[in-house]
Symmetry: C2
Subunit: 680 residues, 2 copies
């Protein structure tokens, strides 16, 4: 095969093999498809993506396809190329001049406003070299600037050329203020309406207006016009999410969503969140890392019809039947005309202004539709897990806990045998999780911070940053798995050698907060904002705090960060309701020294009413089953009920994990030691 | 004097006495003035209001004036008249028909959106007979309805004629929904734009629009047109609030307010909250009960000029000098033309849409002014008490605590001597507070609930509801005083005889919540919503809760309920800042049995950083100094730190109050007993 020449001169043998296997795709079309698959997240096995080309396996064809995929996996996309920033910036400026634009906004976002985005959408990284998970660049003819938050200040200084871009802290020196000084009256600042929400655009628009400039939507992205090696949109296979995991039929879910649409006095709803669509249709995808979501848009009609706008090539065999005859599949570019049709018939369309691209709003209103702003109607029912999903997540947490215990047992003996570093630990943990056939991959990039790296809240180990786990240090390990029956997310802080009194004091305060929140009871209507202080109070008493939220919602084999509820200082009006999974993860970070976080997932549940109770209260059932490092607990700081909680938690961990560790006596012995009663 | 004939045939002797005293007022004008004074709140002494007529005292004139005031104090105003509802409703309907209106909204509000309103503004009570503190009536040609909250459901059934008014629960069956069914397309629903905020009007307007009806502002109130005995606007004397209490000059305050106006990019600000105006100008008034505020409006210009719109007759001698030459006094009816002038010059005016009458907005925008919506710029600086105000409130709380201890000592012995009832206790408490020369009156209507009356959260004793304090019951006493140097608000729950185990359990849980909140530490930016759960957690654990907020802001010889901060389940974005006074008042109420509430006022303060602290934390300094009933405390439920808190609090109460009780040995002995250490 002459692969190096790319699809223009495709391997003649491929066409023959396709024909022999009875596949109707041309060799060129197959190249396109495999290139899209390579631009998506890896599937757990090759059979899943091979089925997009042929439902049956043919050894010769498969071999060619695997080689083709390997080729495209290695195809350069230009991201991370050294010293390309200046030429790319110049190319973009030339493109802007051609379009008569005085500038352009380059956010780190895709058209789904997702947390994980495909390589194709890494426009900020391609342009500036900055690879952090949040940021915004503004390019004007003479000036350019990049805005990142405190986590990424140092990284931006290393990665972004300061002679090309002014580098700013996004809250201390916000883009709006920069625009007010950099833009001139009458100038036209371009933006891609697919990459900004209506709410986000309003803030930038106000800044432009205040200096007499205009924000101008582009029809097509000027970056895409100059990014030669840009990957295509991902073509991750879409698979059914069986009722044995979902617990509820798509018809039943749609009925509830339609009820919400009708209550909002709307005729239809446009969905732009792929995880909402995945939940609603009981499907999963492979378009981005860590979250099994299928990039797509959807229209739900109140007369119980639905259109899924998605590249048909992503549908695995049988998926159309799985979707059923109420769901029409249409090409992504049919979305615009479908919205126009809603406008022509003067329909009222429910739309989430805070989570959807402004493009949707503009197209709808231009077409004459009336837009009703409201939360995505899938958010609340998706957050309230059903009994099957809860049973699934309990089972997934047992497997995940067993994997963690095997890892911890390995770590203990490995440290006796020789040095262990962050990347080695990450690899070992992944392999322990991978022993479960239901494990589909990590639910986010593992945070494995040894010593001072543990104090970097969003740390990610690289070859450059990799540290050994040294005696007298703490090792912060935050990781999670995507299992077919549930998503996990757990943080444990592990003493390497003998911890200091300061480390034990801080760990114990974090643990007390974790226990106070985990054992809280609260009435209907209570939000996570109301409970957040329970987790911080012991740190606050000592003049300490942590600069992140205390808890986020978690999906069911879906996004590990899922709304609409959360536990944080920031106000939130969403009440915690039974079935909502949320993390409980207070922490403490001493810059340059160590980091501590204790994270369990918990689920909101009704509780048995104590004698004399007058009102129903909710509480949390703990899902995560991993021992908490007893060497870091200072019992003298804790009350008897707090120690009782810890002992009871360890007893439950032991009881639930023992059956999973029967074949691994060393891990079993570790579990027994790690879950002993705390000496008082 | 022929007083019965009213001012049309005034006493000839008065004119002569006025002339003899050198007072230039006519007898008719004097009648008007005294009638306005009678329509205001009483002053602590007669000299204060007599000075509005003559700065110097003349025995003969004063005697006439006192008689005149007594006459007007007794003048009928029609509120509370039995069996007048039908004729008044008919008169209003006839007036509406004359004005071509299909209906009219009757809120319980005045043009200042105040908590306490003058008799003149009691239009809802006059029309319907309902005397609760919150409600709304809607009168249509054929139907009428009154909407009250859960506190007042029973009261409305007793007071309001069900054959005239449908009676609805304001949240279960809101006025908007009622309007949607009762109003017809094309109908015109009148409202008084002085009595609704822009925000409130928007909700009602949406309901009207949804059925094709229109909300129509009236030029003058149709109720006032048919209310024959309506009192005039109150003419409570306005007095200076000395710098020795205010701690900060009006010039200095105005400079800060102007800074806020400029930051909002506005040229001026219109103030409609009399307590903001009182704070800003260092003045106090007597227009309504319980809060020493002067009904007025004000315009603050960013060029450091200010206009106070107020009836000049209310200014006590020397007040104009106190206001200084930057402040112009204008008549209330000059406000409209002043706003028109702002419009003509295209000025930008800051205006609080949630707290100001919609009339202001409409007049400004009609005149061509640009309105900028934002919080009243006085709110935040008013809430952050200065050191002089804090010293004043500490001193006031000592006097108030001493009065409470004398009362409690009296109660203990009175109960041994014979029966005591709620009204008797209220009177005694008032007389104890009145012994301080700085005491100006109660800061709200005392809540004195014996037994089951204690479970009624907003209870107010009347002759009909009055109960004896019976053995085995609890007595809930929530009261406060207005002192020249500070405002107090304290609730204690007192065991009458031997409390039951249930009462002790509930009291202790409330106390634990009070202690948890009172001893909280928290970082900058923390809101009351974040801390609220600390006060409820012990009740929540037992399946119990209370249906009111945990804390409200308190003024400095001003409103006992003062924004913008509060501690409650309801979301609030205002951070607690040093100098803010707030109540800490968790409770528990068992309907038909007993009520418990423990309320201290506390002030946000910086705290000494503990060893190893990394961040500055705030905490609360306790202001209230009254023993907590030890007989209701169950020490076995409490932790050692909680018991330490209680002992330390009682030690502070004892130490601070002893000097104030030197002359009352019985009260001193009571104090010593009531503040002993808790047996563990």
């Amino acid at each position: 095969m002459n692969l190096r020449a790319g699809k223009s001169r495709v391997d003649d043998g491929l066409a023959a093999k396709l024909a022999k296997a009875g596949v109707r795709l041309s060799a060129t079309a197959t190249h396109d498809l495999v290139r899209g698959i390579a631009a998506a997240a890896p599937t757990r096995d090759d059979a899943t993506w091979l089925a997009l080309i042929s439902p049956r396996r043919h050894a010769a064809l498969d071999k060619s396809l695997l080689a083709l995929k390997k080729h495209y996996d290695r195809a350069p996309d230009g991201i991370g190329a050294r010293n390309a920033s200046a030429s790319r910036l110049a190319a973009l400026r030339a493109e802007l001049a051609r379009r008569k634009l005085d500038g352009f906004l380059v956010p780190l976002a895709d058209e789904y406003q997702g947390e994980y985005i495909a390589r194709r959408a890494q426009r900020l990284a391609w342009l500036t070299g900055f690879t952090g998970s949040a940021g915004l660049a503004i390019v004007l003819a003479e000036r350019a600037a990049i805005f990142v938050d405190g986590r990424y200040t140092l990284q931006a200084e290393t990665q972004v050329d300061g002679t090309l871009y002014e580098r700013h802290h996004i809250t201390d020196s916000p883009p709006q203020r920069w625009l007010e000084t950099a833009l001139k009256t009458g100038q036209r600042l371009g933006y891609d309406p697919w990459l900004h929400t209506e709410d986000g655009r309003a803030r930038l628009s106000a800044a432009c207006e205040s200096v007499g400039a205009t924000l101008v939507a582009t029809e097509t992205s000027p970056i895409d016009a100059v990014w030669r090696d840009q990957p295509p949109p991902p073509l991750g296979p879409i698979v059914p999410h069986g009722i044995e995991f979902a617990g509820r039929s798509a018809d039943d879910k749609r009925a509830e969503v339609i009820e919400t649409i009708r209550t909002a006095k709307a005729d239809a709803c446009v969905l732009s969140a792929p995880d909402s669509i995945a939940w609603l249709l009981n499907i999963r995808g492979h378009d981005v890392a860590n979250t099994p979501l299928p990039h797509s848009f959807a229209l739900v009609d109140s007369d119980d019809r639905m259109t899924l706008f998605v590249d048909r090539r992503k549908l695995t065999p049988g998926l159309a039947e799985h979707l059923g005859n109420r769901v029409t599949v249409a090409a992504p570019d049919a979305l615009g005309p479908a919205l126009d049709q809603l406008g022509r018939t003067r329909r009222i369309v429910l739309y989430d202004a805070s989570g959807s691209p402004a493009w949707l709003h503009d197209r709808l209103t231009r077409a004459g539709a009336k837009v009703v702003r409201g939360a995505d109607p899938c958010l609340r029912p998706r957050a309230r897990k059903n009994l099957i999903e809860l049973a699934g997540t309990r089972a997934a947490h047992e497997r995940d806990g067993a994997a963690l215990v095997r890892f911890l047992a390995w770590l203990e003996s490995a440290l006796k045998a020789g040095p262990v570093d962050e990347l080695g630990a990450v690899a070992r943990l992944l392999s322990e999780r991978g022993k479960s056939p239901r494990f589909m991959g990590p639910s986010f990039d593992t945070i494995a911070g040894a010593g001072p790296n543990g104090a970097i809240v969003h740390y990610r180990s690289t070859e450059a940053s990799n540290r050994r786990l040294e005696p007298g240090s703490l090792f912060l390990l935050d990781s999670g798995g995507q299992y077919l029956d549930g998503t996990t997310d757990v943080t444990r802080t592990i003493a390497i050698g003998r911890p200091t009194p300061e480390q034990r004091d801080r760990f114990t305060r974090v643990l007390q907060g974790h226990i106070a929140l985990g054992s809280a009871r609260f009435p209907t209507g209570t939000t996570g904002s109301q409970l957040d202080a329970l987790a911080r109070q012991f740190l606050w008493q000592a003049g300490l705090d942590y600069d992140h939220g205390t808890g986020h919602g978690v999906g069911s084999y879906l996004a590990v960060h899922e709304g609409p509820h959360r536990i944080s200082k920031v106000g939130n009006t969403v009440a915690l309701e039974p079935g909502m999974i949320v993390s409980n993860e207070p922490g403490y970070y001493k810059t340059g020294a160590f980091g501590i976080r204790i994270e369990n997932l918990v689920v909101v549940a009704g509780i048995e009413a104590p004698h004399g109770a007058e009102r129903a209260m909710f509480g949390f059932e703990t899902l995560t089953l991993v021992p908490i490092d007893r060497r870091l607990v200072e019992p003298r700081l804790m009350s008897a009920p707090e120690l009782d909680w810890l002992d009871a938690y360890h007893a439950a961990v032991r009881e639930r994990l023992i059956p999973h560790l029967k074949g691994t006596p060393k891990a079993l012995a570790f579990l027994r030691r790690a879950t002993r009663l705390i000496a008082r």
